[in-house]
C-alpha cells in the first residue's frame, strides 16, 4: 500500500462522512446501492462511517459520472483506458468515465461485451483514494491501479486493510475477515509479502 505525499487523511473530527451523487446524472437507486456497498467495504475495517445525503453541495464526498473534458484537467478518454479518478483527502471528489459500459449487477465475468466494467470494483478502488490510499503493487489488492474488463474485485486484501488502518485505526467490531464470499476475489499468484 501507499499514501499520497504528506499522508493526507480525514481528520479525527470528520470520521462520519456524507456522500452525494451529481444530480445531473439522475442515477437510479440500483446504481447508488453499488456505492453504498463499496463504502461498506471500508467502514467494516475502520471507524469511518458513510451516509448518503441529498445535498450535493454540502456532502463531504461527491460522486459524478462525466465524459471527456470535465473541468479538472484530467479528461476522460472514452471506452476503457482511464476508468475513473478520485482526489485525496479532504477534497472528496470521485469522478467516473460516463462512456464506460458499467455493469451494475450480475456476473460481469460472463458479459458478452469485452468492454464491460464492474462498477463496484472501480468504486471500491476510488473510495480508497478518497480516504488517502495511493496505489499498491500487490496485484491482489483493491488499490492495484489496473483492472481488466469483465473482472470483479471488491473485497479488501490484507494490503488494503493494513494501509487504511494505519490511517484511521481499526473498527472495534472488525473480526479480522472481510471476505464473505471467497469466489468474489480474484485468484492470486500469492506473491510473498514482506
Amino acid at each position: 500500500f501507499s499514501f499520497f505525499p504528506g499522508t493526507p487523511r480525514w481528520p479525527s473530527n470528520r470520521q462520519d462522512l456524507t456522500y452525494s451523487f451529481l444530480p445531473a446524472n439522475g442515477l437510479t437507486d440500483e446504481v447508488k446501492a453499488v456505492f453504498t456497498s463499496a463504502f461498506q467495504k471500508w467502514s467494516t475495517v475502520t471507524p469511518l462511517t458513510f451516509t448518503q445525503v441529498d445535498s450535493y453541495s454540502s456532502a463531504d464526498i461527491t460522486i459524478g459520472f462525466y465524459t471527456g473534458d470535465h473541468g479538472d484537467g484530467e479528461p476522460f478518454d472514452g471506452v476503457l483506458g482511464t476508468l475513473a479518478h478520485a482526489f485525496s483527502p479532504t477534497s472528496g471528489r470521485l469522478h467516473l468515465d460516463g462512456d464506460e459500459n458499467w455493469v451494475v449487477s450480475g456476473d460481469v465475468t460472463k458479459a458478452s461485451v469485452s468492454t464491460a466494467v464492474d462498477l463496484e470494483s472501480v468504486a471500491v478502488h476510488e473510495i480508497g483514494h478518497l480516504l488517502g490510499l495511493g496505489h499498491s503493487s500487490v496485484e491482489d489488492a483493491i488499490m492495484y491501479p489496473s483492472i481488466t474488463s469483465r473482472t470483479r474485485k471488491v473485497e479488501l486484501a490484507d494490503d488494503d486493510i493494513q494501509g487504511i488502518q494505519l490511517l484511521y485505526g481499526t473498527n472495534p467490531n472488525y473480526n479480522g475477515s472481510t471476505t464473505s464470499n471467497t469466489q468474489e476475489r480474484e485468484s492470486s499468484g500469492g506473491d510473498p509479502r514482506y
Partner: protein, 132 residues
Amino acid sequence: RFFPNITDIPPWIKNNATSKAPWDAFNKFAGCRPGEKREGLSQLKQYFNHFGYIPNSPSNFSEDFDDELEKALKSYQQNFKLNVTGQLDDQTLQQIVRPRCGNADVINGTSSMNSGRSSSFHTTGHLHTTAH
C-alpha cells in the same frame, strides 16, 4: 452507460465492442528498443507523464526511445512487478494497455507504490525483510 445486468447489454453495444481502446495503439511498439525512433512514441511518453513516470511535461515529447523513456519503463516495470528490462516487451505492453485508474502511480517524482524499493533491490537483493 449503465447495465443493471449483463443480460441487459443491447446488441449495438456488442457490435461496437471491437472498437479500439485508447491505448491499444501502443501494441505496435512491441520489441522497440532504446535508441530507436518510432512514430507515436511521444504519445507513450505522454502516458508515462500522465501517470507520473516522466516528471516534466514539455510541450512536445520526441519520438525517440531515449533515456527518459527507458528510465520511466524501468520504474513502471518495478511498480508492476514485471521484469525490469527497460524495454517494451510483450509483458510490459500487456500491462500498459489494461484499463486503469486515472490517478498517478508516481507523485512529485516519488513512488511508494512498490514499497519504495529501488531498482537495486531487484538486481542485488540487498534488502533485509521480515516475513509476517
